[in-house]
């Protein structure tokens, strides 16, 4: 039975594309998608190939899509550069602590707001939503952060952008639609307090959305460059993204090239290092990517239900 319906389905599918306009359309779509694939892949392969090439080959513009005179010199420079390593570890710290703080805040906001029986729910929701459409702007926010003595501190990277209101709405919607209030009502009759219920029931039942939140916040924190640009002057506290800006965009890599500079032309090595740095800095996210993407898609779809 299953098999016959499947073959029937296949037959209709074949039939679908038998007219001439359909075939032209299908061919056009395939060409379009192939072109998109090429456009996305070529820059990435070019960067990868360059990062594994010899410094002089890169500077001569000989590299296209395959390494020329394979070498690991670019990666060697990065590993020998204390600034870059420091930035890497700073970023890891900001990402880990920032994600913990952000996800906790989002949960603490999301659960009470999912409780339709809570009096204060609507005014608080309004208070939160307004901030999605109106903000004080760069300067007043900077002044608040500076009044709190957060400039050049670790927490400047964590607190000012700790909670996304959109994420709170996602969290609230998820809890509201997947954990019925009746469960709490019966639990509270058995003497379960709000807090106990939150820890023992809500958090375990919200694991999928918490996973989505961890990923959203972690990628955001790892890629955050704006907070560092605004609030950090101390280079010892710079996250990787700020160092990347100096090396990749403003082309200032003073103090980066270490021992190897005597062996090879400094300029060539600097150029090569830019390519390797792009690869190294994107590596953590890209390694997680196959795992991330499923959850990410889910998260966005959850958002689209509401939006």
């Amino acid at each position: 039975m299953q098999a016959t319906s499947q073959t029937q389905y296949k037959n209709t599918k074949i039939k679908l594309y038998h007219t001439v306009p359909d075939r032209i359309l299908l061919a056009g779509v395939w060409i379009l998608l192939a072109a998109i694939a090429v456009i996305i892949l070529v820059p990435v392969i070019f960067i990868l190939a360059s990062s594994f090439s010899d410094p002089s080959a890169v500077s001569a513009g000989k590299v296209f899509l395959w390494p020329v005179d394979f070498s690991l010199a670019g990666y060697q420079v990065i590993l020998l550069s204390p600034n870059i390593l420091q930035g890497f570890f700073n970023s890891v710290a900001y990402t880990v602590v920032g994600t913990v703080v952000s996800v906790s805040l989002t949960l603490l906001a999301g659960y009470p707001l999912s409780r339709t029986d809570l009096k204060i729910r609507k005014p608080v929701m309004f208070l939160f939503t307004v901030t999605m459409f109106f903000s004080g702007g760069i300067i007043p926010t900077y002044m608040v952060v500076s009044k709190l003595n957060l400039i050049d501190s670790f927490w400047a990277m964590i607190l000012p952008s700790a909670m996304g209101v959109w994420n709170v709405i996602l969290m609230k919607t998820y809890i509201q639609s997947s954990i019925p209030l009746e469960i709490f009502e019966s639990a509270s009759i058995d003497g379960c307090s709000d807090w106990k219920y939150f820890i023992n029931m809500v958090i375990p039942l919200s694991k999928p959305i918490i996973a989505v939140m961890i990923l959203l916040y972690a990628v955001g924190k790892w890629n955050d460059f704006f907070s560092a640009l605004l609030y950090l002057n101390d280079t010892a506290k710079s996250p990787l993204q700020l160092i990347l800006r100096n090396v990749l965009v403003t082309n200032d890599s003073s103090g980066m090239v270490m021992r190897l500079e005597e062996q090879m032309s400094r300029q060539e090595l600097k150029t090569l290092m830019q390519y390797s740095l792009v690869v190294v800095s994107s590596l953590p996210v890209m390694l997680l990517y196959p795992f991330i993407q499923r959850y990410f898609v889910k998260g966005i779809m959850m958002g689209s239900i509401k939006g």
Partner: protein
């Protein structure tokens, strides 16, 4: 059952005081997020008053003297103002026109070749660039478009064309900004449309097949109407973001050569405010920007309501 309904009604009738007493733990939980929102969102909103004051750190926000609309007038009479506004509007409209339809086209294309491995591969591939940080994206752009060693100029050279100094010529700035954005964001933005296309009513598709509609006709009659509500919402949101064109990427892509075209309101606010310490002036310019933005969002939403379509609120 009836008892339960009664009980619920009773809980609804709790006064605010009783509600706090009964659910103090929930209120305590909410305390932290509310504190965050007040400190980092509402305090800065209050700080906007310095746009109307001559702010000095010594006197503080409250102690500084009122100057009324002085800084707004200073901005409107500034010869830079027209150029800034023009740059901001052109780049964001260009971006809207190109990057709004792109994900819809991608989603439809993936929908047409439905149900095979290539579709899955293309989906994973197209939204991978979303995870790259802005700094790295700009780095990649600079490397690929480099005059001497970039792959684009390498290919141009190979094909016998002359090399182009993409980053050195101001006229290329907008194209590079917009199309690198398409490269990075299209796959990600398409997810929502792909999800919606997966929910298209199967009976409508069958009916259109029976009526002998070809694939293109089916897209026009079945799939596009199904996407309409989402397209409307996304369009309203995009219009609401027109003045908020990404500060980070523009700032990173700026150089002395393209500055006449690449200077937009948000980068100007940042430079005048935090680099030149003209706090009040920069705040006034930023406020002007947010107000225009808000008006655009409001207008787009109103128009959408008028046509009986979906609305944000």
């Amino acid at each position: 059952m009836e008892e339960r309904v009664k009980k619920r009604k009773n809980t609804r009738k709790l006064s605010f005081k009783e509600d706090i007493k009964k659910r103090w733990q929930l209120y305590l939980m909410l305390l932290f997020p509310i504190l965050y929102i007040v400190v980092f969102c509402y305090l800065p909103m209050g700080g906007i008053v310095i746009a109307f004051k001559n702010f000095s750190f010594r006197k503080g926000i409250m102690g500084s003297d009122w100057v009324g609309m002085k800084y707004f007038i200073q901005f409107f009479t500034n010869p830079d103002m027209v150029r800034l506004l023009k740059n901001t509007l052109i780049i964001s409209l260009y971006q809207l026109i190109v990057s709004f339809p792109a994900p819809i086209i991608l989603a439809l294309a993936l929908h047409i070749i439905n149900g095979n491995r290539f579709k899955k591969f293309m989906q994973s591939l197209t939204y991978a660039p979303y995870f790259i940080s802005t700094v790295v994206l700009v780095g990649i752009v600079l490397q690929c478009l480099h005059l001497n060693i970039g792959i684009v100029n390498g290919v141009l050279d190979f094909l016998g064309f002359s090399r182009i100094d993409f980053m050195g010529r101001a006229s290329y700035f907008r194209h590079i900004y917009v199309w690198s954005g398409v490269w990075q964001m299209t796959g990600y933005s398409a997810i929502i449309y792909i999800a919606a296309l997966g929910n298209v009513d199967q009976s409508l598709i069958e009916a259109s097949q029976l009526d002998g509609a070809n694939r293109l006709q089916r897209i026009r009659i079945v799939e596009l109407p199904a996407l309409k509500p989402i397209i409307t919402i996304q369009l309203i949101l995009s219009i609401g973001c027109i003045m908020g064109v990404g500060f980070e990427k523009v700032y990173l892509m700026q150089n002395s050569l393209n500055l006449p075209i690449s200077e937009i309101i948000s980068t100007y606010v940042f430079k005048r405010g935090l680099r030149d310490m003209q706090y009040s002036f920069a705040t006034a310019v930023g406020l002007f920007n947010s107000i225009i933005n808000f008006i655009l969002l409001f207008a787009a939403n109103k128009i959408s309501q008028k046509f009986g379509e979906t609305s944000l609120w």
